[in-house]
């Protein structure tokens, strides 16, 4: 592992490993819940996820205490934060709409993000003064929470397609009993989209304000900005269609999945392939 966390202060790497450990256990809990359908296993999965979340939060706070900066300088920190946001949204949603099986999607995803985070070098040092802005913190927080919500929408979409396929094909296989109703999955996806879209909008606006403060203009037609705009329009279109002509069910599920792909591309692809002014945060 190429991690060289905090030369001073808190043992970041250990905390991150503990987080990973919890997420891994939580994934196992949800997986066994899928097979054995004991309510306890699901509760265990949720509890472990929450424990992981606490450790995760500690890691973020620790990062801030160690460097004195908000953790968003490089890909390592960005991923750490993105993973945290995903788990936060998941825990919240689980409390709100109990689609228990969704943990099966969220826990492994958090685990994977955590593994990738640990595999990515944490290049400390390069800290430009603009990282101290409140707008940056707010921008990143809302964007990432929004991304987390979109990730869940995508997960709900997957589960919807899986369940729908079972019902259409009339094969009451393994998943029929284990997955919730189509209506619930659709509803869940919709709520995730609404929440994600709200946060995305706030995130974009705060990003613009931040850009105004740093570069003196709201919008600079940067590749990253353009793709974020595309993403915003895409999600806006999905929601609009749903509210007007009732894009629901299968179509909505597929769109949530495609939307998340666009999001992933905006998040990683643009930086790796096209460059742009967010490059320094994510390379």
């Amino acid at each position: 592992m190429m991690v060289q966390t905090g030369s001073k202060g808190l043992p970041m790497q250990e905390i991150n490993l503990i987080t990973l450990f919890f997420y891994l256990l939580s994934s196992a809990g949800y997986l066994s819940y899928l097979f054995f359908q004991h309510e306890r296993l699901q509760q265990l999965g949720y509890g472990l996820m929450a424990a992981g979340f606490l450790a995760h939060s500690a890691s973020l706070v620790g990062g801030y205490l160690n460097t004195g900066f908000f953790p968003g300088h490089d890909l390592h920190q960005t991923l750490l934060f993105a993973g945290w946001a995903l788990v936060a949204v998941f825990l919240l949603f689980q409390y709100w709409l109990p689609v228990k099986v969704l943990g099966l999607y969220a826990a492994p995803m958090a685990t994977v993000i955590m593994v990738v985070t640990l595999r990515t070098p944490d290049a400390t040092g390069a800290t430009a003064p603009f990282f101290k802005s409140f707008w940056l913190f707010f921008h990143v927080l809302t964007m990432f929470l929004g991304n987390g919500a979109f990730a869940l929408a995508c997960g709900a979409g997957f589960l919807y397609l899986l369940q729908e396929h079972g019902i259409k094909a009339k094969r009451r296989g393994f998943f029929f009993k284990r997955l919730p109703s189509l209506d619930l999955l659709d509803n869940m996806g919709y709520r995730c989209l609404v929440m994600g879209f709200t946060l995305l909008t706030i995130g974009l606006v705060s990003g613009m304000l931040y850009a105004k403060v740093i570069w003196g203009k709201f919008w600079s037609w940067n590749v990253k900005e353009v793709w974020s705009g595309i993403m915003w329009l895409f999600y806006a279109a999905i929601l609009h269609e749903r509210l007007t002509v009732g894009w629901r069910g299968r179509k909505a599920a597929i769109m949530s999945i495609i939307g998340f792909m666009v999001l992933l591309f905006t998040f990683f692809g643009v930086n790796f392939l096209l460059g742009g002014h967010h490059g320094e945060f994510t390379k």
Binding site: Q163, I167, K168, R172, P180, D183, G246, R248, R250, K251
Partner: protein
Amino acid sequence: MQNIYLVGLNHKTAPVAVRECLAFTGPEAIHAMARLRQLTAIQEVILFSTCNRVEILYIGREGEDALDALKAFLSEYKKVPGKLFEESLYHYSGIEAVRHVFRVAASLDSMVVGEPQILGQIKTAYRQATQEKSTGVVLNRLLHRAFWLAKRIRTETGIGGHAVSISYAAIELGRKIFGALDGKKVLLVGAGEMAELAVEHLIRNKASDIRVANRTFERAVELAGRYRGRAIRFEEIPDALAEVDIIISSTGARQYVILPGHVKAVMRTRKNRPLFFIDIAVPRDIDPVINRMTNAYVYDIDDLKEVVTENIEDREREAVKADRLVDEAVIQFRKWHESLEVVPTIKALRSQLSDIVDIELERTLKGLGYREAADREAFSRMKTALINRILHYPTLFLKREDIHGDMNIYLDAVRRMFQLDENREPDGEQEPSASSLERGVNL
């Protein structure tokens, strides 16, 4: 008993697509039975066709094979190539045929083991057969035994107790689509026990707003009244699709009642809210293509069967008990068929003569003002002797060994000549005097 045969196909051997090609409507079945009776190889015949089975039970003539003739008949009558269904046909003879009929009537062979409708359906078929006079002594007996056994199994085993489950299955599926069913709107197209049961279950699950469509509007009004719903005309079905969520269809229509175009037309108005079709009819009412459309789900009776198989395990346990009763009945029937065919006839004959003599004697003695009780016994002895002498040759004739092949004809002739089956002809549901006499012999 070797001349009792059964040929047919059911939900286990043939998919709904094949069954709907061969399904007979009520009038068709009557007509078909009348024609089958004229086949030379067939002595007695009954045909029953339900949504899950088409079966022909018949008594073949000695040394003749009616199977090919029946296949040809089905193929010709329903205008389907024999290739389509031949593979699905099963063919039983003797004891196996008897056992099969018993099991079918007792709902042990049903898609949903223990469902109550099959007995009624067979009774209806039997009533039609007796109207066409296509059944005779043996099948009458066999079917009466089947009805009696079905009742016994229903009361003595828990097989019917687990209520009926196609409709439960439908509700479970509905839950997987809609989550909760409360407030969901239901459209019932056509009628029928199974469909109505499904509606009742939906109501119990808080589905509201029931609409009923029927070819005859009065019937729709009547059903709507029962569910506190609304009757609509058959032509209004396409419009109703815009509002309802669950459609249960069970009509006798030959063509699809709901087509993809109907669904397509309303999806936009519905804002793509899902539509769940439950098609209980055979032939099917709802074009299966609709299942491929987004947010529309179509389950026909075969699909529901898959769902049902999961929750019937305990019913299967009861079925073991029921099968024991079936075996018992088969043995009894075989006994009757093998050695006692003649006996009930003679007994009935004796009892009829005895009744006649009693009545006439009473009348005569009364007219004469004769009151000597002591002489009664002498009269009674004379009655017995008289009857014995009258019946001596007929009894010998009926018991002759060398005519066993055609015995049914003579038995039938005697029964008709003396009107021994007088009371039990028209609907055959009860077992009146003549057969209760037989029962005395057998049980």
